[in-house]
Structures are given as structure tokens and as C-alpha cells.
Amino acid sequence: MTARYGMVIDLDRCTGCGSCMVACAAENNVPALPQATARTGLTPMLVRKVSNEMDGAARREVFIPITCMHCERDTPCVSVCPQQAVEVDKATGIVMQMPQRCLGCRYCMTACAYHARYFNWRDPAWPAGMEKSLNPAVAVRMRGVVEKCNFCHGRLHAAKEKAAAAGKREIDAADYVPACVEACPTAAIHFGNLADSNDPVSQESRSSDAFRLLARLGTEPKVYYKSKEAWVRQLAESVSARNPEASREAKHV
């Protein structure tokens, strides 16, 4: 089975609650870092609040969940890792990070345009006893290694085991749902196989409202966004490419 797993995130639905961020951290044994800041935190799923930079009644805001984009073409982080601790899984299109091989040189973090990679600046520490609440399906990392979203690969593994136990060759799509997708209260995150033209996610990714962030860089990210609002779609490319007029769409009473 060759799949290209990807996402379409509906920005008209995201309310910025942060459930996906917490669910992701719980599923992937990410330690809580109460002394960290927004620049040193560990948030493989990160929701960013973006405004149209106006005040008063003309102000608009949107919440943009950012994960690893699982870039397909000349994946920047894969090509720069000196010891092949990152690779693209051909069967699924998932960009895999192996923390056990990571040297912690952080070159991949420099390479990522989406800032989707996070470094363990300190050893993870949980209060006494809390390790009993860790998820055994995911290895716990140590300090000095980089980590990022891997589309809840542990759940793919579990889905494959379940299919194998039932004697099937293909997994059931309903069995492989990443934590953030499951957690979203407005079902804003859609996950599926972009290679399957019947998959609703694949179809959504081709709609006119869909866009990818910094698509012009040419890395072919597999996380799409969609919005009916033009000012939101304008956020896709860099500042200089943005059209300032579109962001003044009014939603006046």
C-alpha cells in the first residue's frame, strides 16, 4: 500500500481552543514545560493566532494549527540531517524523525520554514508517579534531540497490527486517526490519504479554497488549509506577496 497521508485544516472552523495541542502532547509523551516560553516550548502541534492587524470593528482573527507539513519534494529536513535521523517513509509519505539517532545539531530546525521542529532543551521530567500516565506506544525522548509531529505514527502501527490480526492487508481508515484530529471539537482537522482520489481529504485539498503555506518554496507540504475568507488565504505566502487590500474584508453588523 502506498499512501500519501496529509491533512486539510479548515480555518473557518478552528476556534483556537488548543485541545489538539494538549491531546497531541498527551499521546506523544511530550513533557509539560511550565518554565518554558513560546520559543523554548515543546509543541509538536501548535495553534497560532493571526490577525489582519486592524483594530476596532475591522479586526479579524484566525487560528492556524501548525504541525510538521510532511513535505514531499526535496524535504528540507531530510536532506540536511548529517546522520539520516530523518527520512520519508515511502509507504505513507510520513516524514519520520528518529530521536534515537538524532545528534541534536539542530540543522533540521534551521532548515524548516514552518518552524515545526522542537528541541529538547532539557531532560524531560515528570513528577513522581506521573510516568504511570505515559503512553507506552510512544518512546520517551531525552534531552538534546529534536522532535516533531509524525502524524501519530504509533496509531498507524496499532492500526496495522489490528489489520494483521484480522488477516487484512489494508488498514481501516477509521482505525488510524491522529490525536489532534480526534480531539478537535469542531472537526476542523481532516486527515486522510491524498493519493486516494476518493478520499474526501484528497478532494478537499483540490478545492479552490484550499491553500498551503509558503507553497512557492516548492517543498510540496502535505498539510493544506482552507478558508472561504480571502484575507486568510492571503496569509499563505510571505509578507511581500500578501495583498493588503483583501484583508480589509468587513464583517460589519
Partner: protein, 556 residues
């Protein structure tokens, strides 16, 4: 024998080559890799058989359905239950990290008396003494449970008082209680049938009610649509999360919600846009415009937009009577899509915020939010699973934490139908903890246990032959084979849903527009959260990102 340089070179080269063939360098390299991958101080997850069980979250009165993954008897992950009629598979951000709460460093593990460690025996003796010396006031943060009944029975039996801290959603329904006699806890909003919802600051998409209830509804009927089936009009001074996604956002000055409600009601009545004939507000159009910061034309347009597509209902974030009066004008009281009465049996309660005079002791249940501090000089016995610090309570009593005790889940605040669920305990409680009901049973042995009450309630539901049992599929109660079966289903996570409301069961009499009292300021979305601490992983949204501001007074 002279060792020449040649010898030296030959031997060195030979040794180097020879070493490569021995296991020594490879073993060393291999060991180094293993050392560098597995340091002994890195915690390891638990190992053991994996089970998935269902229960309900008990950290706020919404009682969202939980699917809990357990390994070796410990919860290692939580998710929502898609078939749950209230939460519909969603949880709040705090819920996803709740399984780590029981190990929070601030977990209360011993009785504390004025800062010093004490024992249950001493607490018991002190409380017994207090009970014999005077009336006791019992405060409950989550009324309607079996445990609540135990608390209430105890208070009544001692000629004491039973008071309740209402969730903001229920508190917003208090004006209707005043005008109709129907208890606020028996009322709800029929959002599922409304086509226009006007929210005066209520954070419908961000922490109002059970997270899944409105967000799922909105996602299905409104998200991303230019002409949505469900029109959400948000009245907010700043661009809140709900306002940012709403169909329309009306920015009014902070505190001017009542003025806007009055202005809108005036337009509706003057232009005969509604069937109702009154009551007419005292505020004039000009005054409304002045106070809200909107023009009179804007208010007029808003009023017309509100009634353009009915049924319409207005929601307040506090017990502001002006918004309730607007609902009366809109004809949204006791009608489909409006404020409805879901229960005949729910009670009205005395609010806990009033000053407590002439009480010998106050007992505060662990369901009461930590920031609630009773205004009293009496001896305070406070149950809590976590110590939030700077408590004024005389006694801090360690209560069961997350999923550590059997409890039932009455209807979530503001639901349009009655629901009932049972939250079975899934985590082992530390031996030092005791619930308030257990504690009181030690004083008064005649009190029933919570479990007994829950089983009795299950029996009543079965015998009532009404409603539906929601599990993987929906089964009318009339088709359930036995009370035992019903009980079993509820224990395993099914939810009982009552019959839809009846329109004629609820009427409000309002002769005059209410005078605008000083309204309670908008609640923080965490206000129903009873624990004084946040789940550790909440740091992801509050600390490790710029997504949310840290809530005041809450320690992560």
C-alpha cells in the same frame, strides 16, 4: 634488542588492524549508542495489558463522556465518546491532560489543619464537635448528583443549610427562575432547534457548557458557510474567539450589554417585529446608542437581523436580567429553539455567595471551584483533591481526584433535555483520600451511600419507561430488558437521555422591563473548573505558546 622506528610503526599498524577484527571497538561503539539512547533517569511508560474503558469527566458539571485507555490499571490517555449525546466526542483542552492530574505535585495527600499535617481522626472529631455545637452549612459545586443528595440530607438533618455554587450557564438562567418559579437548574436552551442565536458575551465556542455541545452543532450548521443554517451573532467588546468565528460580531462597549438588549427590544416592539407586546424598556434609542457605542441605525439593523430567521434565542454570560427580558420580548421563553424547561423534578437552590451568618461550621465539597471562598467566620472544612495554596480553610481534607470515585452525572447545565450518566472510577485512589459523603457517613451512619442512591436512580429510570439509552446505538428505555441491564449499560458509559421538553410547561410573567442591576463581570472560561491547578499539559496552551493568556490565580 633494539626497538627501531620501523618496529614501532609495524607493531602500531598491526595492532590497529588487529583491533578492528576483535569485538572490542564495535562493542564499545555499540555500548556508547545504547548509553546515549537510554539514560536511567528517563521515565519509562507503564507496561501491561491495554484496556479501553468508558466513564465521564468529573472536573466540571458538564460531565463529558470519556474513553480512557488504561495500561496496567492506570489511565494513559483520554479521548471523547462520539456517541455521547452531550459532549459528542469532544473534550476541553484541560480534559485531554486530566489523566495526569492525580500525580500533580500539589495533590493533597494528608489532612491539613491550619497549615499543619493532621489526621482524619482529628478532623472527624473536630467536625463532630462543630455539628453538636451549632448549625452546619454545606456547600456543593455540582448539585444534582447522588453525593449532593447525601450532602443535602446531612445538612437538613442537622437543621443546617445546603447551598450551591452554580455554574455560569445555570446562573444566567436565574432571572427566569425569578419570573416563572421554575428552578434555574430545570431550565435550558434549546440551541439544537434555534436558527439564530444572539450571545451577549457568552463564549459559546470557547468554554460554554460542554465543549462538544455547541461546537459540534455550529460546525455542522454554520462553520465556513456564507449563509449558515445557524446564525451566531456575538455581542462582545473585543474580538473573542467566539466573535472571530461568529456569523456577525457586534462590538459594544464593555458593560453595555444590558443597554444593547434594551435598545434591540425597543426596536422590536416599536416596529412590531415580534408578536409580543411588551415590556417596553425604559432606555431610549439615543441612550442605547450612546451607551453601547453603536449608532441607532446599527441597533435597528441588528434588531432586524436578529429576527430575520427564527427561532431565535438570546444568551447572557451572567444573570443579567435585561437579556432575559429580551428573550421574553422575542417570544423565546418556553418555545422551541428558546429557553425551555427540561425537568419537573429539579430543585432551586440557595446560592453560596451570600454571607453565611450564624453557622458553626462550613463544609465545602471538592466540586466547588477553588477560587470560591465563603464569606464567613465559621470553621471551614474544605474537601479538595489538590491544594491550591493560600487557602483560608481551617481544614483541608484530601478528596478523591480524577476518576477515583464512583459518581453520577446529572444533566449538564443549560441542556434542553434531561440526561443521566454514571462515571465509574477507573484509577486507584490513594488510601488517604475520602469523599465528603464518606466523611459524613462517619458522623451520621443513617446517611445512604452515593452508590446506593445511584442504583436507586437507575431503578427509577428503568421503571419510568421514558427516554433513550445512548451507547453505540440508541435504545428506548421501554425496550431495555431489565433494570439490571440498564444499570450495567450506564456503568459502562451509556447515557440516558430524557424526552424532549414540552412547550407548555414553562411560562414567564414579566410586566416591566427589569432595572439594570450591576451585572457580574464575564466569567473566565475556566470558572467551572473545580481544581485549583491545571493539568500539567495545559502549559502547552498557556505557557509554551502564545495561544492563551495564563488564567489568574490558577497554578499550572
Amino acid at each position: 634488542m633494539k626497538v627501531t622506528r620501523r618496529d614501532l610503526l609495524v607493531w602500531s599498524a598491526g595492532a590497529a588492524a588487529g583491533l578492528m577484527v576483535t569485538p572490542v571497538p564495535w562493542k564499545v561503539l555499540d555500548d556508547v549508542s545504547i548509553w546515549s539512547q537510554n539514560w536511567p533517569w528517563i521515565p519509562q511508560p507503564p507496561r501491561g495489558p491495554v484496556e479501553v474503558k468508558q466513564s465521564s469527566c468529573t472536573l466540571c458539571p458538564n460531565g463529558c463522556g470519556l474513553r480512557v485507555r488504561m495500561v496496567g490499571g492506570w489511565p494513559v490517555g483520554v479521548a471523547g465518546v462520539a456517541s455521547h449525546p452531550v459532549s459528542r466526542g469532544a473534550l476541553c483542552p484541560l480534559g485531554f491532560g486530566a489523566h495526569q492530574l492525580n500525580w500533580h505535585p500539589q495533590r493533597l495527600r494528608a489532612v491539613r489543619h491550619r497549615g499543619n499535617t493532621s489526621t482524619w481522626g482529628e478532623a472527624h472529631a473536630a467536625f463532630a464537635k462543630a455539628c453538636s455545637e451549632g448549625p452546619v452549612v454545606v456547600i456543593d459545586g455540582w448539585p444534582g448528583r447522588a453525593a449532593s443528595q447525601v450532602l443535602e440530607n446531612f445538612a437538613k438533618s442537622r437543621r443546617g443549610e445546603y447551598r450551591v455554587v452554580l455554574s455560569p450557564e445555570t446562573r444566567a438562567l436565574l432571572p427566569y427562575e425569578r419570573w416563572s418559579g421554575a428552578p434555574a437548574t430545570s431550565l435550558g436552551y434549546d440551541l439544537e432547534n434555534a436558527q439564530t442565536i444572539v450571545s451577549f458575551g457568552a463564549p459559546l465556542l470557547d468554554g460554554w457548557g460542554a465543549p462538544g455541545r455547541f461546537t459540534r452543532l455550529w460546525a455542522e450548521r454554520a462553520a465556513g458557510m456564507t449563509d449558515p443554517q445557524l446564525r451566531l451573532i456575538q455581542i462582545d467588546a473585543t474580538l473573542s474567539r467566539t466573535a472571530a468565528r461568529a456569523w456577525r460580531w457586534a462590538p459594544v462597549r464593555a458593560g453595555a450589554e444590558a443597554a444593547l438588549a434594551a435598545g434591540v427590544a425597543r426596536v422590536l416592539l416599536e416596529e412590531h417585529l415580534v408578536a409580543s407586546r411588551g415590556p417596553m424598556p425604559h432606555t431610549t434609542s439615543a441612550e442605547a446608542a450612546d451607551q453601547t457605542g453603536l449608532t441607532a441605525d446599527a441597533i435597528r439593523d441588528l434588531a432586524r437581523t436578529i429576527v430575520a430567521r427564527g427561532p431565535v434565542v438570546a444568551l447572557a454570560n451572567d444573570d443579567n436580567p435585561a437579556i432575559a427580558a429580551l428573550n421574553v420580548v422575542l417570544g423565546a421563553v418556553g418555545t422551541r429553539g428558546g429557553v425551555v424547561r427540561r425537568s419537573k423534578t429539579a430543585k432551586s437552590y440557595v446560592a453560596a455567595d451570600a454571607e453565611i451568618r450564624s453557622a458553626r461550621a462550613v463544609l465545602i465539597n471538592s466540586s466547588v471551584p477553588w477560587d470560591f471562598v465563603p464569606r464567613t467566620d465559621a470553621e471551614v472544612f474544605r474537601f479538595a483533591a489538590w491544594d491550591g495554596g493560600s487557602s483560608k480553610a481551617d481544614w483541608l481534607l484530601p478528596a478523591p481526584g480524577f476518576l477515583e470515585e464512583l459518581t453520577d452525572v446529572p444533566a449538564a447545565p443549560a441542556m434542553a433535555t434531561e440526561t443521566y450518566a454514571v462515571a465509574q472510577p477507573l484509577a486507584k485512589a490513594p488510601h488517604e483520600v475520602r469523599s465528603a459523603a464518606q466523611f459524613l457517613a462517619g458522623i451520621d451512619a443513617s446517611l445512604p451511600t452515593a452508590e446506593k442512591i445511584i442504583r436507586a436512580r437507575c431503578q427509577d429510570l428503568f421503571h419510568g419507561r421514558a427516554g433513550t439509552l445512548c451507547a453505540q446505538d440508541q435504545t428506548p428505555v421501554s425496550k431495555v430488558a431489565s433494570a439490571q441491564k440498564l444499570e450495567e449499560q450506564l456503568w459502562n458509559g451509556a447515557v440516558w437521555v430524557g424526552e424532549p421538553f414540552r412547550a407548555e410547561s414553562f411560562r414567564c410573567e414579566l410586566k416591566e422591563w427589569p432595572t439594570v442591576a450591576a451585572s457580574v463581570p464575564s466569567q473566565n472560561w475556566l470558572s467551572s473548573w473545580s481544581a485549583p491547578i491545571l493539568p500539567p499539559l495545559a502549559s502547552k496552551v498557556f505557557q509554551e505558546s502564545d495561544l492563551r493568556e495564563r488564567p489568574e490565580g490558577r497554578i499550572a
